[in-house]
Symmetry: C2
Subunit: 545 residues, 2 copies
């Protein structure tokens, strides 16, 4: 709603006002904030031009499809509040809304935001005629990560595009026209209030046709959905406060990389999923890979809030992000960790044991070699590896790209600053992660819902390598060789993340000191070394769950 | 000892006689056969030229290294008897031995053979100076099957070249000169008393240098060996009568094949075994593959006398002989047999369940997915598959080559004739197989020591395909496209083999009729269909062991 042309401009001229929600509180302190917000919404603020929000956004807050006025009902209050602030401060340049928002006091902004947040989600958006949505659906649900570094919309906006927390608004049920115009605004820089420049980065890569298709797709999506399959654990998780109150990260200088000469192995596209029972296993394997903790088949083996695709981006396809195809052709292999030769299946079981903290799961142990879970993941990894050369353990793109050590080493205190600047917006101020619709959207980085002290990621060097080239999601990219964090920042923030308590190492039997010396002697490992505020060493009283 | 030149000819001229063993029985019927044989051996036969066998073959029957006279002590009696017959009938053309052998009566031949068979194995052969044995060792122990269709010497002559039954004599401890000259005689046709032309076929492929190296290798091998690692079961097996008394198969017309354009995948050579713990697993995997039933790691899961390499020739390397590399890149896959998707590991477990009859083993069940046995076999198969394209389930050389169905179908009665002509010499008149040194040399084809009613090989079509292109060993070859049996013969003999009782199908729970109809409805399957001499249907009372 920035470029005023066609019907939008004509509506503006006709009504003389847009989305006016900012007005005085008629009843002052004797009415509740909600009542105050409703008043502004329905009748407008007395001291302003008296155009109610509802006149454009609908009496029920469901928006206006033809004019492209967004739905407000059921959106996150902090998000709505922030948008009004953006109109005021110019980080979202829209003359009409700027005027409306500027007329509201801080309290009024808060009240009207709270009012719309409290309404039932509703939408009047409709699927536009003659707009094909196949491309949009693919970009929305899968993105185009391995080729263009483009994450799926739902990776941040949550399952079904229903929104996540206070930063990532719902896209489902927003008018086609609205979404299309917002994408144009991110691209042109008229709208500039996104964390870490993520939306700018995404929007710049979309062609106009793709943007239309994405917009058409989301316009037709329902604004709520029934309970999804799951273990039930995630419902509690979803109830966690998911409001981020810190500063928005700005987009640091992106280390402009060369795009690697396209010499990485390419797994087959999803359009080539095989048929028959094997194809079903492959599809189920992908579903488990992306929804490990909630999937009906695999959920019982997961004792935290993690999914495979949290560490293996693009559903295990992305080169230099520990892709499955590189692992598949490299196993069986001798592992220093187990001091024996392990099959690919055993390596998968290791992921469940450590990264998924199986000890705290319903099953209490990783899935058996012949379980449906393993069978599906194996089928999926095998299929992703179609035509990859067996035994090529040096295949380009395996694992993560190491980050060179720096003269300053790594330091959690310095890392805390980096974390708050770049990471907390998605992963939470206390590393707790963010879920939506019962699904993990941004995984927990420490605490009970994170990987345990046996997972590879608890080592600072491994985490630094992952973070440097993969975070923030969709901006850093290990194939395009683009990064936001400096090497030093990657080391420091990895140190900060891994200097927090997390679930116990499942190899712990009785003796803490023995476990520490036997499994945690690495200089990249804080287990048994760093003192927590409670006086205990990290890992000393780590919970099993 | 056919081409008389150099030292051999000079010894002949000096002594005036060679290996004279045929003489009269001085004591007639009052002495035992053994005594009579000893008399001939030590003193010669009175009615002949009175040259004792011992004068050339040594007082202890240990042979003469310089002259190239073979050791006789400890060789199989039937074998020795047959050799004397061959000198008489000209199928081994040697003028001196022909004269000696012709002077003996049938009883005398039997007696002297029995005498030498009863002596402790001994040899005076020595490793020749300046004869490299690396090539010989490789040909002796590994052969060159995948490239030239050349089986290892020990595949027929038994572990250590110590001989197997009455057909395959020991090579260990035979003089360098003797072995070298015999190979030349097979090649030239002067010696022509081998079953199915096997030795001719082998000898023709060896260069003179290779023949020398093989001869040098075996000359230096010990004539007996201590107990080998094993489960103990095989000791009993080795005690089975292993004398074949039927006619020797002749070499039928070999369907001269084109050698396939070398377009099959080539697994890495054994000289490239990897180092370290993974390499150890690979080596152990190969050892298990070749000695499955006796290996200390895998033996407890094998309830019969079978080895992986019995059905997967050249240790799982040979194209069109169900090679491991083709299987590796084809799993996981949906199997009609299990009605689900199976991993390679599960497929291996299936081999143990059925082909190895695990129900009758010490463990009573197949090895677990994380067992050392599976781990080793997986490592071996994976390594054999180095550089093979993942997922290429259509890779050339997978499985066996089918045999077209014939108008006459298949018939066990006709098959019996084929079996006796071509197969019984190695696999035994009653399909019992042949072991030596506690190791399976020729696997049992039916009965308690064979694959059970669930194994793929129990189907007539599968067995026909295997037999046609792989049997007789080293003559038929599925890469060179050479065969001895006609399609009709292959079908019929497969029907004969699979119309015998064998261990019960492990899927049998309670009801025979249900098992028969559920798992054995194929027209290639005799389970539950053919009446045995005891009046029961095949499978009806099949034992679990």
């Amino acid at each position: 709603m920035v470029i005023m042309n066609g019907p939008v401009a004509s509506i503006f001229r006709r009504t003389g006002a847009w989305l006016l929600c900012g007005m005085v509180l008629l009843y002052g302190s004797v009415v509740s904030a909600s009542d105050a917000g409703k008043k502004i919404a329905d009748q407008g603020a007395a001291h302003a031009s008296a155009v109610a929000c509802a006149s454009c956004h609908g009496a029920d807050g469901g928006g206006n499809d033809v004019s492209g006025f967004p739905r407000l009902a059921g959106l996150d209050a902090a998000y709505l509040e922030k948008q009004l602030q953006s109109y005021r401060d110019g980080s979202n340049r829209n003359p009409v809304m700027a005027s409306m928002a500027s007329s509201l006091s801080a309290d009024e902004v808060r009240d009207v935001a709270a009012y719309y947040a409290g309404l039932d989600a509703v939408s009047h958006a409709r699927a536009p005629a003659n707009e094909p949505t196949d491309t949009g659906k693919k970009l929305a649900e899968e993105g185009d990560f391995s080729v263009r570094g483009l994450p799926a919309c739902v990776q941040c906006h949550g399952p079904g595009g229903l929104g996540v927390g206070s930063i990532f608004p719902p896209l489902a049920g927003q008018p086609f026209k609205y979404i299309k115009e917002q994408l144009a605004a991110w691209k042109s820089g008229l709208r500039n209030n996104d964390p870490a420049g993520m939306m700018k980065h995404v929007a710049k890569q979309l062609t106009a046709r793709e943007a239309r298709s994405v917009a058409a797709y989301f316009a037709a999506q329902p604004v709520s959905r029934g309970d999804r399959e799951g273990t039930g654990k995630s419902a509690a998780k979803a109830a966690k406060p998911a409001v981020y109150s810190g500063p928005l990260p700005h987009l640091g200088e992106v280390t402009s990389g060369r795009v690697a000469e396209n010499d990485y192995f390419s797994p087959p596209p999803r359009t080539d999923f095989p048929d028959g029972p094997f194809g079903e296993k492959v599809r189920q394997g992908e579903a488990i890979f992306n929804h490990t903790n909630t999937h009906t088949v695999s959920g019982k083996y997961v004792g935290n809030e993690q999914v495979c695709s949290g560490c293996h981006l693009d559903a295990g396809r992305l080169a230099n992000s520990a892709p499955m195809w590189a692992a598949w052709v490299s196993y069986p292999a001798y592992l220093r960790k187990t001091k024996t030769v392990n099959t690919f299946i055993e390596r998968l079981q290791g992921c469940f044991k450590y990264s998924m903290n199986a000890q705290g799961s319903k099953a209490k142990h990783p899935p058996a070699a012949d379980s449906d879970t393993i069978m599906s993941l194996v089928s999926y990894a095998y299929w992703l590896s179609t035509d990859a050369p067996t035994g090529d353990s040096l295949i380009a793109g395996r694992g993560y790209m190491k980050v060179p050590e720096t003269d300053r080493g790594f330091d959690p205190v310095r890392g805390k600053v980096v974390y708050e600047e770049h990471c907390a917006v998605c992963h939470g101020a206390d590393g707790e992660g963010l879920s939506a619709q019962g699904e993990v959207v941004f995984p927990a980085l420490w605490g009970a819902d994170s990987y345990n002290w046996g997972a590879g990621m608890h080592k600072v060097n491994t985490a630094a390598a992952y973070i440097k080239w993969n975070m923030p999601l969709g901006v850093a990219n290990p194939v395009q060789m683009s990064a936001v964090l400096t090497d030093q920042e990657a080391w420091d923030v990895a140190a900060f993340v891994n200097s927090h308590e997390r679930p116990q190492d499942p190899r712990f039997k009785r003796n803490f000191a023995t476990t520490a010396s036997r499994f945690h002697s690495s200089k990249y490992d804080y287990y048994g070394k760093l003192k927590q505020p409670n006086g205990k060493l990290l890992g000393e009283n780590a919970p099993r769950k």
